[in-house]
Symmetry: C2
Subunit: 235 residues, 2 copies
Amino acid sequence: MDNKYLQIYHDYVEKIESGALRSQSKLPSEHELCQQYGTSRETVRKALHLLSQNGLIQKIKGKGSFVLPVEQMDFPVSGLVSFKELAAKMGKPSQTRVISLEALAADDKTASYLRVKSTTPIWKVVRTRTISGETIILDKDYFLQQIVPKLTVSVCESSIYEYLEEELDIPISFAKKEITVEKATAEDRECLDLEGYPMVVVVRNYVHLEDAMLFQYTESRHRPDKFRFIDFARR
Amino acid sequence: MDNKYLQIYHDYVEKIESGALRSQSKLPSEHELCQQYGTSRETVRKALHLLSQNGLIQKIKGKGSFVLPVEQMDFPVSGLVSFKELAAKMGKPSQTRVISLEALAADDKTASYLRVKSTTPIWKVVRTRTISGETIILDKDYFLQQIVPKLTVSVCESSIYEYLEEELDIPISFAKKEITVEKATAEDRECLDLEGYPMVVVVRNYVHLEDAMLFQYTESRHRPDKFRFIDFARR
DNA sequence: GAGTGGTCTAGACCACAGC
DNA sequence: CTGTGGTCTAGACCACTCC
């Protein structure tokens, strides 16, 4: 069901992540790829641009396109990725526990985060994440009921993200993350294995739909020594 | 000296950041832009894609392109931006102080960060950043002398980044940032106004050239309460 | 010089929104 | 239905790298 350029893109993501294409190795030239896939050059270029944007290849004028060093698949919290996917990539035993799941009216603070009026019907989900036996992340999610009419504990235990994308087909478009370090609250100390750390890393995530409407606000609170964030930027 | 698509892109960055184009307002259709700029549609689309990637506009199929809410000029540490630019955007009095500038041979630790052999000739620069009277950032930069033959204190006091890009014309291509929280060292406590905070936020930045060669490693150590990082992600 | 990627064009057909 | 953005094509010229 992919477009042509996504087809080419996914082919090469697979080749690179599986190791079939080694770091530093050269991709076929754009001309060759046109012939292999039977497409025009702009289409091939769109695929290569995507690979380059995502840090998988490097294009050098006059030379060609080369696979970049992957550097141990670095916990890419950057972008829109779910905890489930992350945990799977890291290959560590992990567990999600639902502390609470409530349908309620937004209080003033939550309403301001979601930029809606107070008393707007919302879902509030509180979960903890346990990795290798240590509970190190406290996630608090808020959704507009208008967008997500139904939500169950079992969905919250696996992946809300998957549910929204695949079941409800909600068109998630872009998200803004904000990372700060703050004093641990009583709730943090209660829910997490903080081991005496006085602070937590707070990742606030604002998720927007295709029409730019904000529909989800997530606050992810991490034990500082277990927190790691990777960002990849191009000129 | 810009390309056509960069011309269009910069025109609209200016219009949006200056406020001439309000949040939510609609851009001309791609067809109209073609006529206004006398270019083909793919060229206009390349410009709009860039605007969209950088979080300035939102394209909606069947409707048009719309200016996104800017949300208070959000300290965009994301991407490749220099401290000088950041401080200017935030409009706060700031100051850079050079603690040391040395040409030396890489020790084992530094060599492993830069992924070169020990004893490779490098520059080591240590600087502090003071904002509104508080010294809250300690920056340690390491460069390969092979790439940067000359470096002076006065360059380090203004902007090394500008010097590399504009004077030396070094083709910076991409960078990887890694954010963690670590115990403050004696050096941190000595150079920064830590106010008793036991930890610092460490941003490690690996900067690569166009040929994917690593040429700079920067370690930026922040007082936790003054740290803020913004990440913008699209589907 | 031949081969590469970077830009650009003038078309085409499609899917979606809104009337 | 018209107008919008999303995809795709088959060319073209340029700047760069390497021999």
